[in-house]
Symmetry: C2
Subunit: 494 residues, 2 copies
């Protein structure tokens, strides 16, 4: 399990390989023996747990409760919502049998043809159908509304080309599913939750995002409106990082979920759904990391401060470790997570490189001279700046430094992202910008699916979103020249 | 979603129906449209989350890290460990295809025969095989050991007869999977973790358990030894509530996982696995509940104190609620979870019954006279004892009362359990005790599978465990009359 640092591909040489190397060598995840399914390793899972805990708290603070719905969905459920079946039922894992038996030739086991299911079960790619089938039993009156449920679960989408965290056949996510008495309330919920995602992305992950509406062509299958948060990676490509859907009455109608309103009349229920997934891990990695490895924002770092003793001989080692233990206790009492790495079988230089690779925000080193002088060596991962500081007052300054690093990581990403939003007014500029600079391109679009598809076919760029804060502005579509009333954001994306 | 209290079956009339009613009417879980799969409703899930959080903390305190492994396991993996395939590969969900297509007749979707998997995938019933296949890549030297991983996940076992929480096709659980350099270390780990389960069951769930070894016939498929915690339900039947397995080198050999030991020689790795599941919810419910509903131990109660205003008119309602809000703030500052139920559309008597059904440990009611007198009505759920107490000092006494309730629930269950362990020395006594009293029967057994199977066929009682603290005692097997060296515990079980 030793970390092999020498083989980390440089990002400017091959961004995609750099990303993959980083995920594997930092111990975040690896491919499994099952096509497209990853193993999330302890260090990667520890980051995901921190994401989970922060998001879960935010969901509860906004009035949501967790629940759990079945992994399997009867095949026929998908056909009940016409757009949904097109979007999801096609590439999916299908359970057809419920028993194996010994192979007639004595070698292993085979599917027992006698144990064929009457109706095939689909491993959930998303749970609107099974949940709305359940909500039918929960809702009769306006008094039963709203229902504000969230589920943490695994889902499966049979992707042909997979990449660790970014696109895997199985992934972990949360999916909120809410039911409301009015259209306005459901729209307000969908808007509130995309706001929660934006806050989480920016304040915890340190990743600035643009919030906007998806174009009709990029909407969730079955939604009337999809809101998205769009982040920018360091290679200039966008990453859709979370979505929140106003589903109208589509699923209520598909599953016949009606309620008696205050006036005693039957109405269909209004719905939202919203989700983020382990894809956020990909966004976190690609937004901040460098050629030395991960750069983790302190709020999501499993280890915030690592301490490495510098010594010759066991006595010096024990002295350094003893001092570290005092500092560790003080830091832990302030809620800082620490690790003392006193391993005797690897050099300290190797340890330095390992924790840089793992993105630990602050590294302390302490040798015999430091012990004499009351000093300590401190390196922050975001800038790699090294300084020798006094041990006195160290704990308070580390607490402040963690805040500063969190702030700095976000503002660095924000400055980069802002520098990568280019306003263009002609097709030539559009193509030129895409090919030389990348990033988001703010441009006029005539609002038609035809133009959107044509631009995608010509350039691989898609409309990432129609920003919520887009100012009305008259202009001409960069592709068709037809009139447009506001700019939208284009980009190539993951 | 209104609670229908009138229909709760009495436990002495039909224990099984009482249990099912309770689960459904208290809002814990319900059957889904998918055979054998349940929906865990928000209130039930909130209890499971508390179990999760407490266990997760205990696992981390004992040095374990969480990780995540794939949902799917290639069919051939099961055949690599001979006992394991017999135990698990038979009744399972089999994924054979990865795509649907529009039906030729235009009605819905059908499985696309062109999208047949080369090798079928099994939805994990347990993860030893996929995990040991992964560990092969993680382990080369003794320096890589131990590996102490846990996973929180859903698993699927195609059970023919299912019951909410107790036996469902899909269930939630955690499975620890550890790898060690020596036999002794693995045995110590398996023993440590069954100890963690015992502590959790007794200190959090308030459910006393007997720790012991399973008989060879009842071992986990692929284990050399299975340790179990066995609880007793109020109908006198036992419930296996958690198991911890010493797997020897069976999976290391099946997946060829070797390491270089300190002497430079190759050895197979030693393994353990251990798990508890949403079945614990069943144990929690059946161990303490009564004909009024759930009785939750305060440590696992989503709401520890419920406050119900008694009033005529809006002014009185607001006065009671205002006072409750002050008390709630104080309780919350001491870590107590509270709910004020000020709903105006249901009577307070209905609310009383509802929170009794939901097992909330403490209920407060406050009316105009209480406001005048500085008193409050307090009812504890475990004894249903009602008292009028002074508001002064209320918060401290509630904190102490929650501890007392936690203690009382456990000791009540312990006294019952202890009264239900019967020592018998003859076959007639054994049968008589089983049929009239139930509970655990402590009796001599000759140690053979034949006798165990014969007793099960004759009485439906199984050996629950050979208690860890069983004293050596010479005696004669109650069934065969052959010599025996210690007593084991028999019971009918869930």
């Amino acid at each position: 399990m030793a970390v092999e640092l020498k083989d980390l591909t440089r990002s400017e040489e091959n961004y995609s390989q750099w990303y993959n190397d980083l995920v594997v060598k930092a111990g975040l995840a690896e491919n499994s023996a099952v096509r497209g399914c990853m193993v999330i390793k302890p260090y990667g899972y520890a980051i995901w747990e921190k994401m989970h805990d922060a998001l879960d708290k935010m969901f509860k603070q906004t009035g949501h409760q967790n629940a759990y719905f079945p992994l399997f969905i009867p095949k026929s459920y998908f056909s009940k919502e016409a757009h949904h079946v097109e979007g999801f039922a096609k590439e999916c894992a299908v359970v057809t049998h419920y028993r194996l038996k010994n192979a007639p030739d004595g070698n292993g086991v085979v599917v027992d043809p006698a144990a064929k299911l009457e109706e095939e079960l689909i491993v959930r790619p998303t749970s609107e159908t099974i949940i709305w089938n359940t909500y039918k039993g929960w809702i009769t009156s306006y008094r039963d509304l709203p229902i504000l449920c969230n589920q943490w679960a695994n889902v499966v989408r049979w992707e042909m080309r997979t990449r660790l965290f970014l696109r895997t056949a199985e992934f972990l996510w949360q999916e909120g599913h809410t039911a409301h008495a009015t259209r306005e309330e459901a729209i307000a919920e969908a808007t509130k939750m995309i706001g929660v995602y934006k806050t989480f992305a920016e304040e915890y992950m340190g990743v600035p995002v643009v919030v906007g509406h998806k174009s009709p062509n990029e909407r969730f299958a079955g939604a009337e409106d999809t809101l998205t948060i769009e982040a920018l990676m360091q290679d200039g490509k966008a990453l859709q990082s979370g979505t929140s859907h106003f589903l109208g009455q589509n699923f209520a109608k598909a599953f016949d979920v009606q309620f008696t309103n205050k006036e005693g009349k039957l109405e269909y229920v209004w719905a939202t759904s919203w989700g983020v997934s382990t894809r956020l891990m990909g966004a976190l990695i690609m937004a901040h990391s460098d050629n030395n490895g991960l750069v983790l924002p302190p709020k999501l770092a499993p280890i915030q401060v690592v301490m490495i003793p510098i010594y010759r001989g066991e006595e010096q080692r024990q002295q350094a470790v003893a001092r570290f233990e005092e500092i560790a206790r003080e830091l832990e009492s302030k809620g800082v997570s620490v690790k003392i790495d006193a391993r005797d079988n690897v050099r300290s230089g190797f340890k330095f490189a390992e924790y840089e690779l793992k993105g630990v925000p602050v590294r302390l080193a302490l040798g015999p001279r430091d012990l004499e002088n009351g000093t300590i060596e401190l390196v922050r991962r975001d800038t790699l700046e090294k300084q020798t500081v006094q041990q006195e007052g160290l704990v308070d300054s580390i607490v402040a430094l963690l805040d500063e690093i969190q702030h700095n990581i976000f503002h660095k990403a924000l400055a980069y992202r802002d520098s990568m939003i280019t306003r263009v007014d002609t097709w030539d500029e559009f193509v030129e910008t895409l090919n030389t600079k990348g990033g988001f391109i703010s441009a006029h679009w005539d609002g038609t699916v035809e133009t959107e598809v044509a631009i995608k076919e010509a350039t691989k760029a898609t409309i990432r979103c129609i920003p919520l804060d887009a100012e009305p502005e008259e202009g001409k579509c960069i592709y068709s020249g037809k009139p447009s009333h506001c700019r939208v954001l284009f980009a190539r994306s993951y």
